[in-house]
């Protein structure tokens, strides 16, 4: 799949967005947080995934 990147683009609009503090904060959460995982680390094995670190409707914003 194509992946967006904040690097290597000199477009003025992109530059203004890439410096957006909210966006940078979200990317920092995504890179650092246990609430996100790499697609390469997603197991298709039932027993592996049964108790993986997944959350349902009401968990993400509660903590």
């Amino acid at each position: 799949m194509k992946n967006g990147s904040l690097q290597g683009n000199t477009n003025e609009n992109q530059s203004s967005i890439s410096s957006n503090a909210a966006l940078q904060g979200a990317f920092a959460r995504i890179e650092a947080g246990s609430d996100f995982s790499s697609i390469n680390n997603q197991s298709s094995n039932w027993s592996d995934s049964l108790w993986s670190n997944s959350y349902s409707d009401d968990y993400y914003v509660d903590n």
Binding site: G4, N9, F36, I39, S56, Y60, N63
Partner: protein, 354 residues
């Protein structure tokens, strides 16, 4: 980590939200889980090998079970102390007083509150039994929680009647001091679905998401955390939010009702049941039953459209309760197109193509 939603009062609720999917069920009769069933629940969970177990105390309105009931929960968690019990409660906050807040603070419950945006949009849908808006009562409860250093996250339901007020809803939540926000697209699973006036279409949900994204960018505040935006931005980084709606893991969630019956996620209603904690002795027995195995197979079956999709591994055909039968070989996620288009939209915005 195992996670369970426990409907300790069944569908019993002090509110009558206009869109509530529980309106098919009895919301008037006071039903509370017996202490025998509560202890049976803990014995059942004690059979799990995992050390950490998350329990979301749900309803209806779970606080209607009363403080004595919640004290019994703590007593039993201490009795079965080999597990680490992680408690959360999802409440409408109208019954919160200082005693409740002190209890949640002392016992380290995380608290989620349902608020539908601004006072105006909230009061248009979240009504009490005499059809009055509940916003001021909810905010009063939230303020009490904050007095006890509990800063609840918010679940905000978006319907066909409110999606066009995206800005107003977000600003309403922010003005009320909320910074952790989750938006739920309302998709009707109640029986009169064909006449539904609340369920969002794919296009309406996309319109809402775009407006929220642009407003969030403009606000430029890294403290504002919106689940739907984080989830979509994660795709840009080739990551998946560990949220069941993106991971196809809804078979990890079990609902236990006040009588001990076991269901899949509460969004799916009561059409499928996996038996009862009163008859099943262990968790292994639950997941090895043919009814569970067949149900799991059915939700893992992907429609043809998903097979070649660029978001396949980041989406997993969305929430099972939001899927609709079609000619794709398996039910397709109703918000498939908005998910794809929103991904393209934010990707283009980040890369300066819009």
């Amino acid at each position: 980590m195992g996670s369970f939603q426990v409907k300790i009062v069944g569908d019993y609720c002090n509110l009558r939200c206009t869109y509530c999917r529980n309106r098919d069920f009895d919301q008037n009769t006071k039903t509370i889980m017996t202490l025998e069933t509560l202890e049976r629940f803990f014995v059942f969970l004690n059979s799990l090998p995992q050390e950490k177990i998350r329990v979301s105390w749900h309803g209806g309105e779970p606080l209607l079970a009363g403080k004595d009931f919640f004290n019994q929960i703590i007593r039993l968690e201490k009795k079965y102390s080999k597990k680490e019990w992680l408690n959360s409660v999802q409440t409408n906050a109208t019954l919160i007083d200082h005693e409740w807040a002190e209890f949640f603070s002392t016992n380290k419950f995380s608290v989620g509150v349902s608020v539908d945006g601004s006072e105006r949009t909230h009061n248009g849908a979240r009504l009490n039994a005499i059809k009055q808006g509940t916003y001021s009562k909810v905010i009063q409860g939230v303020k009490i929680l904050r007095c006890h250093n509990i800063y609840p996250g918010i679940i905000c339901t978006v319907t066909k009647k409110t999606f066009k007020y995206a800005d107003e809803m977000l600003h309403g939540l922010l003005d009320a001091g909320f910074k952790g926000i989750a938006f739920n697209a309302f998709y009707n699973t109640a029986s009169e679905g064909k006449r539904d006036v609340y369920g969002l279409t794919d296009e309406e949900w996309l319109c809402f998401l775009k407006k929220i994204f642009e407003t969030w960018l403009t606000l430029n505040n890294p403290e504002i955390k919106i689940r739907e935006l984080d989830g979509a931005l994660a795709w840009v980084k080739s990551k998946a939010a560990n949220y069941c709606m993106y991971k196809g893991t809804c078979y990890q969630w079990f609902v236990i009702d006040y009588e001990g019956k076991i269901y899949p996620c509460e969004r799916l209603g009561k059409a499928v049941t996996f038996g009862s904690i009163n008859s099943l002795k262990t968790f292994d027995e639950l997941i090895n039953q043919s009814v569970f195995v067949e149900w799991k197979k059915s939700i893992e079956r992907m429609p043809q459209k998903c097979q070649d999709c660029k978001l396949k591994m980041l989406c997993h055909n969305g929430c099972v309760s939001h899927r609709q039968a079609n000619n794709e070989g398996a039910p397709l996620y109703s918000y498939c197109e908005s998910r794809l288009k929103f991904y393209d939209y934010i990707n283009d915005r980040i890369n300066g193509r819009r």
